[in-house]
């Protein structure tokens, strides 16, 4: 079972907080990878908020291809951030880890965010395609104010490997996943968190309904729905599909992945709409066992479970800083100063949402719809 730590705060903090919480939950895990997604970046990135950041890994050959491609696409490089790699036994070093800050092509500068998002995603997909066959390039995200880092190995070691212990990189929302590989090959594109156009999620557990869900998403005619090296990637895409593509309020994500039974539906004010949705989105229904932690473009972080709650999960913190994790011991490490009695252990009908800037926590109950 993968370990998950999401922290959201109104102040910038270092990913070390996530890593130490992950470390607390380590017992029994082999730690086959670390994935980090940071958004609302601080430090040197604070000045560059409006510019898209391309996160990824390249071989020497890959860098050249990347430069050429981005140039042709009309993007101008504004800045480059690279982690200070520390050689560590057990972690295979690749040539070039990067977060490159670009400026949009001239023709896009005045376009809507929606159009910009499509451009960024298509560029990311093209790069992914270029590098995928020979592994010369991996790109994880291309979006303003978001950085993604991924590598195979024990999370604490990977953290050191990236030199994050010495770096000043900070953010207001950081998602970290300590990967526990189960039945799929260890592969960088299989590492959580997954990101698409401002939507991000990480999950633990298996997704037994993976194949029909993947087929449904892939057949939506949306170019970003591909990859699926992990059965958890569909959770991110379903989130994106529900909220961005269909325009449904976030709470309906819960209704899409774990729809209510017919008898339960009757209690909801929006039952008529729910019935239609349940039929139309039937292939996206999951059976778990999963806990899903995600964020949306405006910065809400949330946690939901499968309909039987077959996985643990906890949310807790203080006003201005909350953590959403897969295990409680991690929370003690991340935010020890909180009032423990207020910790939330979401049950099967719950969706816990932390508003942007970690202002407040809301538990939305699916049965009542409030």
């Amino acid at each position: 079972m993968c370990r998950l730590v999401a922290i959201t705060s109104n102040e910038y903090f270092s990913p070390v907080e996530n890593i130490l919480a992950l470390e607390t939950m380590k017992e029994g895990h082999d730690g086959s990878g670390l994935g980090l997604t940071l958004r609302d970046l601080g430090g040197e990135f604070e000045e560059l908020k409006g510019y898209p950041i391309l996160s990824g890994i390249c071989s020497k050959k890959g860098v050249q291809m990347l430069n050429e491609f981005m140039h042709k696409a009309g993007f101008t490089l504004k800045d480059i951030w690279t982690p200070k790699i520390k050689h560590l036994k057990g972690i295979m070093r690749r040539d070039y880890y990067f977060a490159r800050i670009y400026d949009y092509p001239e023709s896009y500068r005045n376009k809507s965010m929606h159009e910009k998002e499509d451009l960024l995603m298509n560029i990311r997909l093209s790069l992914r395609k270029i590098g995928e066959s020979d592994g010369s390039m991996f790109v994880f995200s291309f979006y303003p104010d978001v950085i993604t880092l991924k590598e195979v190995g024990d999370p604490l070691q990977v953290y050191e490997f990236f030199g994050l212990d010495k770096n000043t990189i900070k953010a207001k929302i950081i998602f970290a996943q300590g990967r526990q590989n189960t039945n799929y090959v260890i592969y960088l594109y299989a590492c959580h968190p997954f990101f698409i156009q401002g939507y991000c999620s990480m999950t633990n557990g298996e997704n037994t309904a993976f194949v029909p869900i993947r087929e449904f998403l892939m057949s939506r005619g949306f170019p970003g729905y591909l990859g699926y090296n992990s059965d958890s990637e569909v959770f991110t895409h379903t989130l994106h599909y529900t909220v961005r593509q269909l325009g449904l309020p976030l709470t309906y994500y819960k209704d899409v992945i774990t729809p209510l039974k017919a008898s339960e539906l009757e209690m909801r004010e929006d039952k008529e709409a729910l019935k239609l949705l349940k039929h139309s989105l039937r292939p996206l229904c999951i059976d778990g066992p999963n806990v899903v932690i995600g964020f949306t473009p405006e910065g809400t972080c949330f946690m939901v479970h499968d309909s039987k709650k077959l996985r643990p999960g906890v949310v807790g913190g203080v006003r201005g800083k909350y953590a959403l994790l897969s295990e409680e011991c991690g929370l003690d490490r991340a935010i020890p100063e909180r009032n423990k009695s207020e910790d939330i252990f979401p049950m099967k009908y719950d969706m816990v949402m932390v508003t942007p800037q970690a202002e407040e926590v809301r538990v939305w109950n699916q049965l009542q719809g409030t």
Binding site: E206, T208, E272, L274, L276, S280, R282, G288, S307
Partner: protein, 563 residues
Amino acid sequence: MEPATRNVDYLINVPRLDHNHQLSLREFPYIIRWRDDRCKRCGSCTAVCPVKAIEPTVKIQRIVQSEGALPTPVVVRKIVPIVEQVTDMDRYCTGCGACTLVCPNEAIEPEYNPQNKFLHYKNKGGEGYKRGGRRNDPSISTLDRLKFTRISMLTDPALDAGRHEFHVRTLLGRILPPEDLPLKKSNGKLMVDKMSDTFIPPVREIFPIMIGSMSVGALSPPMWEGLAMGVSYLNEVEGLPVVMCTGEGGVPPRLLKSKYLKYFIIQIASGYFGWDEIIHALPYMREDPAAIEIKYGQGAKPGDGGLLMAQKVLKLIASIRGVPQFIDLASPPTHQTKYSIEEAVAKMIQSMSMAWGFRVPVYPKISGTKTARAVLNNLARNPYASALSIDGEDGGTGAAYNVSMDKMGHPIASNIRECYLDLVKQGKQNELPLIAAGGIAKKGNLAANTAALIMLGASAVSIGKYIMQAAANCFGDEYNRCNLCNTGRCPRGITTQDPKLYRRLDSDKVAERVVEVFKSANVELKKIFAPMGRSTELPIGMSDGLSIDDKAMAERLEISYAC
């Protein structure tokens, strides 16, 4: 033994020497094993035999006997009554075993003869062999070779079929793509936009196994009643929403006006039998039917129409169908109005929808064919088409030419799979449900075959022959046993309109068995889905759960190979 009367070949009394123009028993598919020592000569077997394949006769027996104190053997010739199998192709033993059932002493039994040359001779008078039943192929079908290999273990807790809640239900009806739903937001909640003119097609939530089309007329009154009672009981008492298709041949008038009509799918086929009565009953219907099935083809006999032989058209049947008694009722092979799928079929679907105010799903049924995808693609574009039912080559029928049954048609597994994958390509896999039929539970594995077809992409399956076997002990099998369904002489009373025969069948017992069959299938389906970690929705298209022990099949079905 020798015959008591000599056979004659010619009218003049010349003893026949070599029987050269007669068939030997070895050419026959079943040979009767009759035991002289057990038989008490009651005559039950010869009376019950539906084809008169056996008859009482007498033979001369040579016996050496000795009477008195000292052995004084003498040869005597006695005339003894015996039971004998005839060698007339018109009266071939069908192997039904009715004689065995009635025999008080277990003195008689048919034995299958694998060397038979039955089909060489079964064309007397230049007429091709006609029969009922399904394809005579006893080999293991593709469906029975599919295994469920992705079992949730350790990395993901398997579900508990006994403890967790399972929702073994499917949707029958067209489902709108989420993008087209007429929804609007108000205060962060979704509401159905009543002002929108989007047509929301009717959808039924049903149990994924349905009883396929078998008509009143093809089935005897107690058989049809038994099925109908079983289905109603399952719905009303067991809460299992099983639906049943009427077949072409109308609906009993009382049922049309009853509250149970909602459990029935009414079929319209090329003969339109019974539809005058149905249309006239429309204003009196208390409930809408579950759906309307338009039959364009049947898996057992692709390209062939329906036929109800004159001997089955008795008073009740004639009145339900709106025809005179004792005439052959042939449905043409195609709908006479059908000249193109774009127009005629679409119109038919629309007319049927309109008749019930667009409240009832309407879908076509075709026989399994390489061209199924063309039909499917057309229906996918028709907003009123509610589903597509595909009936594979192993489907059963009441009457057809043997050649149609044995050689025509397409196996269901790959046909369903390619249709489903075609829908996936178009993103319409959730919009148009596929119903699979034809040979499901041929070997009795109802739940396993159903689950396999669902994982290949079917939304539901339909059974016919199997329920006749399981609920009414139909003798038919893939060794051409019995299969007299077309003759009106069904020894079990299932497919006959002869009261002498059908009074053998108790409709209550049939209903009881129907209930047992569906209840156990429900449990078994959970037993399959639970270890695969699926409970809240059916695993439609969950093809990673399946494997097969043949590489070519695995490739064709786009599933994994396991051995």
